[in-house]
Structure formats: C-alpha cells, structure tokens
Amino acid sequence: MKLITANRLSDGRVIYVGEDASVVEDIASAALFDGDAADAALIAAASRPATFVNPYLVEVTGHTPSGRDRLKETIRSAGPTVGNSLRHHETA
C-alpha cells in the first residue's frame, strides 16, 4: 500500500493526504491507496500547489513506512529522533 506525503507550503511541515482528500499531519490518519489509485491521488495532490509542496508516494505496511526510504519517512513522521534536547537548560 501507499500513502501520499508532502511539505505544507505555509510552514514546510510534513503533511499527508487523508480521507476525502483532506490534509492531515499524522501519518496514522493518512489515506492508503493501491496501485493506480495511488497515482491518481498523487496527481490530485500535485494539482493543489498552494498546499502540497513536492508530494510523493511512500510505501507503507499498515501506516508504517516500509519502502527504501523507511528510515527517512519514519523520521519525517515522528520528528527528529534527537528531540529538542536543549530545552532542559532553560529550566536548569
């Protein structure tokens, strides 16, 4: 299965195509597509350039990235694995 991801134009944040062509931020809410439907949905996303910057397909198993870019897509969906490790200094 595949889903569609992109960066949002206004702030660059990771977004996905959700059900009914909605925009969702959580990979778990992304719509899943099969075969030709995925290509059609990609074209539909690309036709909304005011929202989706550089949309592309991601292979998933369930909602978990599984293709060649598994790691990259996992980091995109969950944020940097290093967190914002600096924050604690301010409360120190």
Partner: protein, 555 residues
C-alpha cells in the same frame, strides 16, 4: 567590527523587500515551487525534512552582542527556541515558517545581518581563524581582508551564476585554524618580498563526494592585487569548469584534471590583464576597513593574573577548563575563551535562545562586545581578561555552556544528518551523542588529548568527515544505517584525507570501535605524541585492527 555604510544597508533592505514579494507570490500560488526554489535559495532558505531551514550568514564568524541577541530573538519568536551553528560558521534555524521568513530577514537587517549567498552557485561566506585579531602567532589580523573579499564577492555580477558553490577561507598564521586546504581557495597571509602583506594561495581543495586537498598555486600575491588574482582564478574556472555534471562542476575537479601547472598558466593569463585594470585594493579603502577592526582598548595588565592563578589552584574544575578551553592571547593579561557547544549528550552546534542571550551578555561584559563562531561548531569570546576568566567560567557553567572539552574527543563535529537533512543517508547526531556518552570521562579525555572526530550523514561531507583524525560517514545499506570509519585525516597545515579502514559498521558499534582505536593509541603512542602523529608514524593498521578487534574476539 565592520559597520555597514548607507549602501550596504540599502542593499540588504532592498533584498528583504524583494524576497517579501517573492514569498507573497509563492504563498498566493502565483509562483510554482520550481520557480520559487532558486529565489529562496538565494536567500538561504532550504526545504528540509520537517520544515523550511534558514541559513544565516555570519561573516567570517564575527558577531557582537546585539547580533547574538537578535539571533536569540529569532529562535524564540519564529523557531523552536534554538539555533544550530555549522562548520561554515553560519547559524541555521530548522523550523521557521515560509510566511515568517520576510520578517526574520527584516529583523536580521536591523543588526546588519542577512542570508545572502549562504546557498547557491556563488561565492559563499568567507571563513577565517576563530582567533583572528587575538592569536599571538598571526602575521596580521585577517578579518579586514575577509571584509574586502566580502564586499567584492557580494552579488558580484560575474560570479553570481558559477558552475557550483565556491568557498574561500583565510588564515594569517602558520597554524591553519580554518582548514584552508579544504576550500576552493585557501589564503594564508604571509610577508611579501617588500615586507608588505601578501597571500600564499591554495586552490582546488574541497570535501564532498570527491575530496581534494588544495594545492599551492602562488607563494605570495601582493595584497593590493588579491582581488585581481581571485578574479583570475574564478574566471578561469567559470570559463572552463564543467557544467554538464553537478559532481564535476567544482574547481577541485578542474584543477585535478588540468594539473596545477596548467591551471596556474590559465589563471596567470587572466591575471596579466586583470592586474592592469582598476581592480586593485585601494590603500585608503583598506585602511578604512582596517580601522573598524582596530584592536580594542586593551588595559595594561601584568603577565600573571593573581585571580586566575588562585582559581586554578583552588578549583580543579576551573583548572581543567583553563587547560582545555582558554587560549593564549597576543595581548598580555588577556585570553580567548572557547564556549563548547558540545555538552555531554548534546547536539553539536545547537544553542538555545536563553543561552544566546547569556553569551551576548558575556561578550558585552567580558570581551569588548565580540563573539565568534568557530568552524568546529563552538563559540569563542576572543578578548577576555585572565582576571575575569573564573567569573566568566562560573556563568558559563550555570548556563550549560561550561563543558571543558575543546579539541578533546567529545568536541565532535557532526552535521544534522537524517534527523533534519533531506539529503542524508543516515543519522549523525545520535552517533555523536553515543560517543559523547561513552567517552565522557574527562580525565580519560585529557589523557587521550586532542583528537578531531568528525561525522557526516552523507558523502556531501558537511561534517568534514574526510579530514577528521577519525571520520565517520553515514551510508545506507538497504534502508539500514551503517557508518564508514576513516583514520588519519587532518584539516590543518598538514591537511590530509582520512583512509577508509574497512567495511562499515552498524550504528551501535561505532562508539565502541572508536573507543578501541583510542585505547590502542594509548598503548602504542610515544611520550607526548598526539593521536594524529601516532597515526602518521604507524599508519592506519593498528587502528584498523582495533576497530575490528571484536570480530576476532567473537570468531
């Protein structure tokens, strides 16, 4: 510090307004991403994994307190409360919104900062010795020359669409503290035959996919002819450089394929005409710029500082800080202090807005309002009274900025890697963190002494892995992160590329392998020998054996 004149200020303002308009047109859909991309890149804006990234130029790494405060303000107001200092002495913000970028650039312009030429195929921010103007071994202060280069190269009409990016670094000492031989052009200030300023010029260095160490092309170009000579070099490359293959478009490829002698002839041909033209550096203009970099009003101080000596005796932690992070200064009674951005388990180069505010304050109070960005991803307060160092250290400690590890094994350079960068093959920050935790014992670190460990998340080499004494390069093996280790690289006046020791390792084996290599060094070094000197004496073999030793143990 250099101050903008009315032309500089107007230019930067105009660029901000131009970009504001471009952002509005992009946001409204009038510009497509393909149309917008080259425009945003001209303003240092990338689109990365999670968000836009803004790269702000810090000209030759020099800032004042007000500028640092503005960087803090930007981190707090438009980003997630931190910024990231890079090996190019720039600061990057990882999370700004596109629609905020014009406001950010406008804020920057208020303190004479911008993001022009921090990206794209142009002459990038010139870098220099972080101790410029303070080092006791420099021929003269290199910063005025960096400023000359900056004024000449900013929006230079001939060089705004080069075959690829072009990087210049300047040092003024025998010791190379700016890695000049890994730059497209490296300049070393020397005394010319007439006793005046001259430049020893290296060309064709660079890292990335096809790394090269720069070669000497001229021993002593007179100062007033510097710009003519630089123009000749870049013109020769602009005319002859390949544009058909992005990986072969760098000057290092041209120099390597022509050979340095043939390339020199090509440059000399252009130089012969250029030096006749009006491209001389006018003496009055140089003097005007130099006046901005005049030494601050140093006090007449004794060589010994009683306060410093007392603190060293009284507090072993301060003694350690002074051994590792305090450097000699040309002015008696003063020192330069390195602020490590490599706390235990931290992200190399990251700093919070609150920390930036403190650094700004410390620069104003203790260092004549000056702070520097080092290519090692640290900060430096260049001119601190020895008397003040204990108090300064206590304030740094209280802010999480007092880690006494400058140049030690945990002073790791690491690029953002796959945690932020869309070009990465693997993460680099977590590997740096694991190493930092494993090698944390400061007594042990001091015993090992200076070792430069550099990491990049891909072959582009933003983390300078090729020239790390130990280099770590992230590679992708069928979707798994692996790391290739090199040994024997060196960024300095004995610049060398590291040697790949063997097959790449999974992430969790990197730190133990490096620890074994360092343990081996402790066994085989001779008294007083630095790690890199031991590698030069014995070659990589003993370290290779140590790095892969566990395999034999398990066999």
């Amino acid at each position: 510090m250099y101050r903008y004149d009315e032309f500089d200020a107007a230019l930067v303002r105009e660029r901000v307004e131009e970009f504001r308009d471009q952002v509005e047109r992009r946001a409204s859909g009038a510009l497509t991403e393909d149309e917008f991309k080259p425009l945003r890149l001209m303003n240092g804006v990338y689109l990365q994994l999670h968000a836009y990234m803004l790269r702000v130029a810090v000209p030759y790494g020099v800032m004042n307190g007000g500028q640092m405060r503005k960087l803090a303000h930007i981190a707090r107001t438009y980003d997630k409360g931190y910024g990231h200092f890079t090996t190019r002495c720039n600061i990057q913000y990882n999370w700004p919104a596109l629609t905020d970028l014009p406001a950010i650039l406008s804020d920057l312009a208020e303190v004479e900062m911008h993001a022009i030429q921090t990206s794209g195929n142009c002459i990038r921010n010139t870098t220099t010795d972080v101790f410029a103007g303070a080092a006791d071994d420099e021929v003269e202060d290199p910063r005025p020359w960096c400023e000359v280069i900056r004024q000449w190269s900013t929006i230079h009409p001939e060089f705004s669409f080069l075959p690829r990016k072009f990087k210049i670094a300047v040092v003024a000492s025998q010791k190379d503290r700016a890695a000049i031989r890994t730059h497209d052009v490296g300049l070393q200030i020397v005394k010319g035959a007439d006793g005046g300023t001259a430049f020893r010029v290296f060309v064709g260095g660079g890292q990335g996919r096809l790394p090269h160490i720069g070669q000497e092309i001229a021993p002593a170009v007179p100062g007033h002819e510097l710009l003519a000579y630089l123009t000749a070099i870049i013109r020769a490359w602009n005319l002859l450089g390949r544009r058909d293959n992005i990986h072969k478009a760098r000057i290092k490829i041209l120099v390597a394929s022509l050979g340095i002698d043939a390339f020199r002839e090509e440059v000399d041909r252009h130089f012969a005409t250029l030096r006749q033209e009006a491209l001389q550096v006018p003496a009055e203009e140089l003097a005007r710029i130099q006046a901005y970099f005049a030494a601050p009003a140093f006090a007449d101080l004794p060589r010994q500082s009683a306060a410093f000596d007392r603190a060293v005796l009284a507090d072993p932690d301060f003694a350690r800080f002074s051994r590792n992070n305090v450097r000699r200064h040309k002015q008696v009674g003063y020192a330069s202090v390195i602020i490590s951005l490599k706390p235990l388990d931290g992200v190399p180069g990251d700093i919070t807005d609150a920390q930036m505010e403190v650094v700004a304050d410390l620069a104003e109070r203790y260092s004549f309002d000056e702070v520097r960005a080092a290519y090692e991803q640290n900060l430096v307060l260049p001119h601190v009274r020895l008397d003040d160092t204990p108090a300064l250290w206590r304030e740094l400690l209280a802010t999480g900025l007092g880690t006494p590890n400058a140049d030690l094994v945990t002073d790791i350079i690491a690029c953002p890697g796959l945690d932020y960068c869309s070009l990465a093959n693997a993460r680099s920050i977590p590997v740096a963190q694991a190493l930092s935790k494993r090698l944390a014992d400061l007594d042990w670190q001091e015993k090992v002494g200076p070792v430069r460990i550099n990491m990049s998340g891909c072959i582009n080499a933003c983390g300078h892995h090729h020239v790390g004494h130990i280099g770590v390069l992230g590679v992708d093996r069928k979707g798994e992160e692996y790391y290739q280790i090199t040994v024997g690289g060196s960024p300095d006046e004995q610049a060398a590329l590291g040697e790949i020791v063997g097959r790449s390792l999974p992430a969790d084996e990197v730190a133990p392998a490096i620890q074994r290599a360092l343990d081996r060094y402790l066994e085989v070094r001779i008294e007083g020998e630095r790690f890199i000197d031991t590698v030069r004496r014995l070659g990589a073999d003993p370290f290779r054996d140590a790095i892969y030793a566990h395999e034999f143990a398990n066999a």
